[in-house]
Amino acid sequence: MAIDFEPRIVGFLCNWCSYAGADMAGTARICYPSNIRVIRVPCSARIDPLLVVKAFQLGADGVLVAGCHPGDCHYTEGNYYSRRRFALLYPFLEYLGIEKGRLRLEWVSASEGRKFSHVVSSFTEGLVSLGPREKVPAEGALP
């Protein structure tokens, strides 16, 4: 395993809780590894699983999806849909040869800056120990 491996992480954060939680980590200056690149979405339910697959296809080593805690969704129930969607996505990723530990679904509230920082740190560490990812087979090359 490469010692200096820096994983590339794409983070999809819902605007109302998790993006605000990440802002909170900033305001409180709680440092975490700089590997994550955040994409803001209104709600975790907006995240089309295809966007996650696309990120892996392009070369992401990990994808973080974070939304409001169950029951706290700004749009009342969006996070329940994302929870089910990503439960279904895991076996599909496994089929593509992408390990389970590369997609992480988390609930981070607007006040949980420390939790956000902790999630990113531990996710990054986990990806470092998993090592660089095998390339997703190009379209048409799947069995």
Binding site: G26, P42, R46, H74
Partner: protein
Amino acid sequence: MARIGVFICHCGTNIAGTVDIGRVVEAAGQMPMVVHAADNKYNCSEPGQALIRDAIAEHRLSRVVIAACSPRMHENTFRKTVAAAGLNPYLLEMANLREHCSWVHSDGKEAATTKAIELIRMAVSKVARHEKLFPKQVSLTKRALVIGGGISGIQAALDIANSGYKVVLVEREPTIGGRMAQLDKTFPTLDCSSCILTPKMVDVAQHANITLLTSAEVKEVKGFVGNFEVSIVQKARKVDHAKCTGCGICWQKCPEKAPSEFDMGLGKRSAIYIPFPQAVPPKPVIDTANCRYHKHLRFVEEKREGKPPPQCRVCEKLCPVGAIDWEQKDEVLTEKFGAIIVATGYKAFEPAVYAELGYGKHPDVITGLEMERMMSASGPAGGDVTRPSNGEHPRDVVFLTCIGSRDEQRGRTYCSKVCCMYIAKHAIILKEHYPDVQCYVFYMDVRAVSKDYEEFYKRAQESGAIYIRGKVSGIRQEDGRLVVRGEDTLLGEMVEIPADMVVLAVGMEHSPGSAELAQALKVSYDINELFIEAHPKLRPVETMSDGVFVAGACVGPRDIPESVASGSAAAAKVAALFSQEFLTTDPMVASVDQMKCGGCLLCTKVCPFKAIDTQVLRDGRTVAVVNESLCKGCGLCVATCRFGAANLRGFTQQQLLAEVTSLWQ
């Protein structure tokens, strides 16, 4: 071809201290379609904004990226800036270099600079795909619906009406007044409840801007803020209120009696009745379940055997204006409203589930609300408190608190807030009326948190009431009296108190039908069927459904001052809404491409706001169409759509894909 300008903020040293701004500006300048990249000490300051406006003009920029703090902080500020320079305000994207980069990666300047450049690249590729968006203006009906005619609804209706807008007040019962009308006196001032409430009830009836619908219920709600269409069922009263003068001869002469709901079953009312003498409107309704003529009609209709009961119809014979209308049926009215206030209040907890307390078994075990009716000078006993079992004055009265409150086993975890105080009130009044009475209070904690409440509780103690900290395990009957057995947790021993009467301080629970009403209004409610406000602290009378407001105890246990305050607050929100000529809607909402829509209509099922309607096209296809006034822009439908027909403005599939892709360019 888009001409993009990137403005990188130092934020003093907040960003510049960690990120190498020079390198970022250089890298940004080389990104595709970027024609101008500049840095600025403070983008958000007025000189900083002026520089942005000037650069937009000078470089003929068509889109702008602000690389600074969180969009949650300053997106609106910079939207105004670009709008002032003549650009559509939605042709702006922010890269969050402060909260998401410099502040959290202060230990690695190199890595932070690389990340900053990538965050800007993502924003640039997204902004290139932004479209001009225009908020829509929709007209609004300046007429409010208030559901529930208790003190909170009355206050809300009066305040809106006094602001000059029309109000319809809908009440399920035959009179307004709600629970407050049943109370004897109110804590901590001991004002007579009717004396302060009934003038307001009369104001409602007489106000030119208020239409009062009693014996009516909301059935269906369609539409959205500014343009609700509500179906209201006016239940058959069998009395034509247009003719009725409220002379009272019918309810005086009606021979059939039934337990009075208003008096908690302690007194009787006739089958044609007004709930209490000061009822508003002061016009009767016929209770068809008990009316002799209706019993006769049912007997004939069901073809039962034997002799039918007599027809009676005394009220019809005696009514001087011919107001009795046996043919009257339930009627559905459909009305338009711009805003809705829900003030459906509470119901007292039913204590029969506490089998050990013997409510319903021992006649001398009563609830707090029954005590109110007993104490009330206008109540069935004229204010004389007596033991239901033998009609004698009680000597020892035991109060038990937290019945249906703070009790996980009975599924009521919350504190009902008012019980501690109404018990103190009962103890004070009983002692005043009957100096030989001894009151005992079993309590868990005494919660006396509002103005003058603690002093009022002290006054109850000083009046001689004995407070015992602990719960009661059982009540048994002995020699015609009750014995209350419980633990005194401060002394750590069991105590037994002989009592003539036991008063259960029942808590508040949701009014029946709350869940159905919440569903009709698309308002969320909690596990206790209490309505959920948009924000418990900052938006306490709003709901997540725009244009629907909540007031009073339907949100959670509240006393009278809080119910009045929330009624006024909700009215103020409605008045502010109605002060606008048009409503402006957020343009960052979903849309459906009808050419791509396959008509599966899955989106209509998942939408939390019921914002997606269907439409039949001329070619016969059924497609989904977004109601932009209802859509809140969550994007759930976009990820649900199998055809790629649904999209979310401001967060389109193309924009998000571009952001992901830009990371590997």
